[in-house]
């Protein structure tokens, strides 16, 4: 596979869970050499616990003897990276960090604000050894405001952006998006920040620090509602799957257990096509205009639901799409993993991993006709590339690497589970 467009870029990634590792994985997919730096006492939280763990995260539902290297969550988001386990709190680690920074273009971190600086890996410290370094940090909130110190997680950042107030069932019970949409959103925005920082470096000859407050950046994804709120004093009220400008617009139950088809009618033509597909010319006049369809959406929806109830969701969607009506089966994970469309699009990568074997992973959506890049190697074992990076990249000799190992600067196994606090609680 031809190298990606960033094949001359090296990234040091200090990040945990989903958003930061997703960003690092995107950069690796684009061709960058991404070195993931983990602390032995604070491994990436998505490695899970040293013993046991929820079975659904492991091959064949078995955490096995080495769950922190077998966790499906970690292994999904750290594809194509090298791993070194460096404890920045141990004397002697700072020198290794500075040597790494000399070879790097980008440092990417999703720690709580201030942690990177306290570890000696902030922009000020690193730009002394490498004035061209681009440091991208992705806190949940930017500094200065009352929420700035908040702990942010994908699930809690979504309400903080204002998104949760715009979606859900009509009576107001909040609904959160899937496994958490804010994590990959923050990750994508962080990748955008990395590329932006590299472009600035080309124009100034100097590195820079880019801060991506994930909640603030995500507000752009609902920008039209923010502007509406400001201009009119009101905006969209959650109403299930109903949507301004579209009707009928909903999920309809199909044959089987919890099987649904999504049907989204935007135009009069699509309404006519839907009525024809259902064999219900009698409904045409009831929904002839958008205003009629909006006003009568509940009753029209009941008619559609009666038609879909005994039908297969995929057949309904295909038939409606063939007639020009936007529609889709509501798919689950197993269906997506088996989807010919996913495979054809290059969205599934099959990769060999020394402890979990050959497994399939979601790929990414970057498409280049001349420098395609892509996913090539499974996620690294914890500290798998300690010798490779210290010896091969930094040129340390075996004796020096052995000393670093003996003093605990580097490690080959995590020394803690992952749900321990990263920073001590402040006085309350």
């Amino acid at each position: 596979m031809t190298a990606g467009p960033l094949s001359d870029v090296r990234v040091l990634e200090f990040s945990t869970a989903w958003a930061g590792p997703f960003a690092g994985r995107c950069l690796a997919h684009l061709g960058a050499d991404v070195i993931k730096v983990e602390a032995p006492s604070h491994p990436d939280s998505w490695r899970g616990t040293r013993v046991g763990g929820a079975p659904r995260y492991y091959p064949d539902l078995d955490p096995g003897d080495d769950p922190q290297n077998r966790n499906m969550l970690f292994n999904s988001q750290n594809i194509d990276k090298r791993s070194i386990a460096l404890d920045l709190k141990v004397p002697g680690a700072g020198e290794v960090m500075r040597d790494l920074a000399r070879t790097a273009d980008v440092v990417l971190a999703n720690f709580t604000p201030g942690v990177l600086d306290r570890l000696g890996a902030g922009f000020t410290a690193l730009s002394r050894v490498n004035p061209r370094i681009v440091v991208v940090e992705m806190p949940a909130f930017g500094p200065g405001g009352p929420m700035s110190g908040h702990q942010g997680m994908g699930k809690t950042m979504e309400p903080a952006t204002g998104m949760t107030g715009l979606m859900g069932y009509p009576e107001g019970t909040p609904v959160l998006t899937g496994p958490a949409l804010m994590d990959p959103t923050g990750g994508l925005n962080a990748v955008a920040a990395v590329l932006t920082g590299l472009e600035l470096r080309e124009r100034t000859g100097k590195g820079c620090r880019v801060e991506v407050p994930q909640v603030e950046a995500a507000a752009h994804w609902i920008g039209e509602y923010v502007l509406e709120q400001l201009a009119t004093g009101a905006t969209w009220r959650p109403d299930g799957n109903h949507r301004d400008g579209w009707a009928p617009h909903d999920a309809f139950r199909c044959r089987g257990d919890d099987e649904w088809v999504a049907i989204a009618v935007a135009t009069d033509d699509q309404w006519r096509a839907l009525c024809a597909a259902m064999g219900r010319p009698d409904l045409l006049d009831r929904g002839a205009t958008a205003a009629q369809r909006l006003a009568d959406q509940a009753a029209l929806g009941a008619e559609i639901a009666a038609w879909t109830a005994d039908r297969d969701k995929v057949e309904v969607a295909e038939r409606l799409q063939a007639a020009g009506v936007p529609a889709a089966p509501v798919l689950g994970g197993r269906e997506i993993a088996a989807s010919p469309a996913m495979r054809r699009a290059g969205m599934i990568a099959e990769l060999d991993h020394p402890l979990v074997g050959r497994r399939a992973y979601s790929a990414l959506g970057f498409r280049f006709d001349r420098t395609p890049g892509g996913h090539r190697r499974a996620a690294p074992l914890f500290g798998q590339h300690n010798d490779d990076v210290l010896g091969g990249l930094l040129g340390y000799d075996d004796a020096r690497i052995a000393r670093l190992r003996a003093t605990g600067v580097i490690a080959d196994r995590p020394t803690a589970d992952t749900d321990t606090p990263r920073t001590p609680a402040p006085p309350t």
Partner: protein
């Protein structure tokens, strides 16, 4: 919008970059907006009747203006030269997938095509929409209550993901162009960009054949109705803080909740107790207490409250762009904050959205 802290003109990240935005989609126009925010000169080329996003909700009360169009196109210029001339000097072209160009792009151009689906897959002929994409991505299946219909979400988030994907791809191709001297075709589809955000759906199926649905979320999540508002909390750590904020210290000694694994296994019982207590508590107090104890929690906040909030004021989330003489617009400001050794770098919205020219627009392509 130049910063008052920055009197001397300083390079912006994309200074000198010339972009022709021929796209008509949310994804394409958002990619253009991101380029404009970082200093690129972005020209929006529209048909005579205006680009379709000008007519896409949410609309102003009199129906004449789209807040979506405004948000997507702030900082762009309207075409003032024939298209062939614009393309002649362009570094980047944004266009709808399959839409022809009047002349082939120069070899140095990064030619970015945006569409709903890959042009050669089984969905190539399908019509996309936010709900269609969220249904196919697996996100919708896992959003909402298991005893009710799945919920698609809101707005155009799949398209914003695609616009961001396109922005990244364009900048990566420009980065590579410095080495090779050559541009290339890049492509972004809503289908692929949305699937990429689905996280571990494929790997979970591959590892053990299970999948997440709306039935239960496998984590320390609680959505609680407080006295005055809803609160979402995610208590991956600091269990004692959680218990104390809700006055449930007795749970600290309860053997059902001794370890993290115990708590996960018995989490519904925890949520039940939290619900009872939350009903009598104020949401702001719950969030403040939990955050003091380093437990992630936020109130479900409407935009009316958010745009007036101290957080948004201190963070300067909003600004006015444009010339007061010809009309200003409110804009959401920078996506990220950029500083280098010389101080802050302007990464803000540079101006209002373009007005539709009266009469035949000179740059009209379609």
């Amino acid at each position: 919008m130049s910063s008052s802290l920055d009197p001397a003109p300083r390079p912006r990240p994309l200074d000198g970059l010339r972009v022709v935005d021929l796209s008509s989609s949310v994804a394409g126009q958002y990619a253009g907006r991101l380029l404009a925010m970082q200093g690129a000169d972005v020209v929006l080329v529209e048909p005579a009747e205006g680009t379709p996003t000008r007519r896409t909700p949410p609309l102003s009360p009199d129906g004449t203006e789209s807040y979506l169009f405004r948000h997507l196109n702030q900082g762009k210029r309207t075409a003032a030269a024939p298209l062939a001339e614009l393309l002649d000097g362009a570094d980047v072209v944004l266009r709808d997938q399959g839409a022809p160009l009047p002349v082939p792009p120069a070899a140095t151009v990064v030619d970015c095509e945006l569409g709903d689906f890959p042009p050669d897959g089984p969905y190539a002929g399908w019509r996309g929409s936010e709900m269609v994409h969220q249904a196919l991505s697996g996100v919708m299946n896992a959003t909402g209550s298991v005893d009710r219909e799945p919920i698609y979400g809101l707005g155009q988030r799949a398209s914003y993901a695609t616009g961001t994907t396109a922005y990244i791809s364009v900048l990566a191709a420009l980065h590579e162009r410095r080495r090779s001297g050559r541009g290339q075709r890049v492509r972004a589809s809503v289908f692929e960009s949305t699937a990429a955000m689905g996280q571990n759906l494929v790997s979970q199926a591959s590892y053990n054949g299970t999948e997440e649905t709306r039935a239960a979320y496998p984590g320390f999540l609680a959505v609680l109705r407080c006295r005055d508002a809803w609160v979402v909390l995610f208590a991956i750590r600091n269990w004692p803080s959680l218990c104390r904020v809700f006055g449930l210290d007795e749970l600290l000694d309860d053997p059902r909740f001794s370890t993290s694994g115990d708590r996960l296994a018995n989490w519904p019982a925890v949520v039940e107790r939290l619900r009872e207590r939350a009903a009598a508590m104020a949401a702001d107090d719950v969030v403040a207490g939990l955050q003091r104890g380093r437990v992630s929690a936020e109130k479900v906040t409407g935009l009316a409250e958010l745009v007036e909030s101290e957080q948004w004021r201190v963070r300067s989330m909003l600004g006015e762009v444009g010339d007061p003489a010809t009309g200003t617009e409110t804009a959401l400001r920078r996506l990220f904050v950029v500083d280098d050794a010389d101080g802050p770098v302007d990464a803000d919205v540079p101006g209002p959205s373009p007005r539709l020219p009266v009469g035949e627009p000179a740059g009209s392509a379609r």
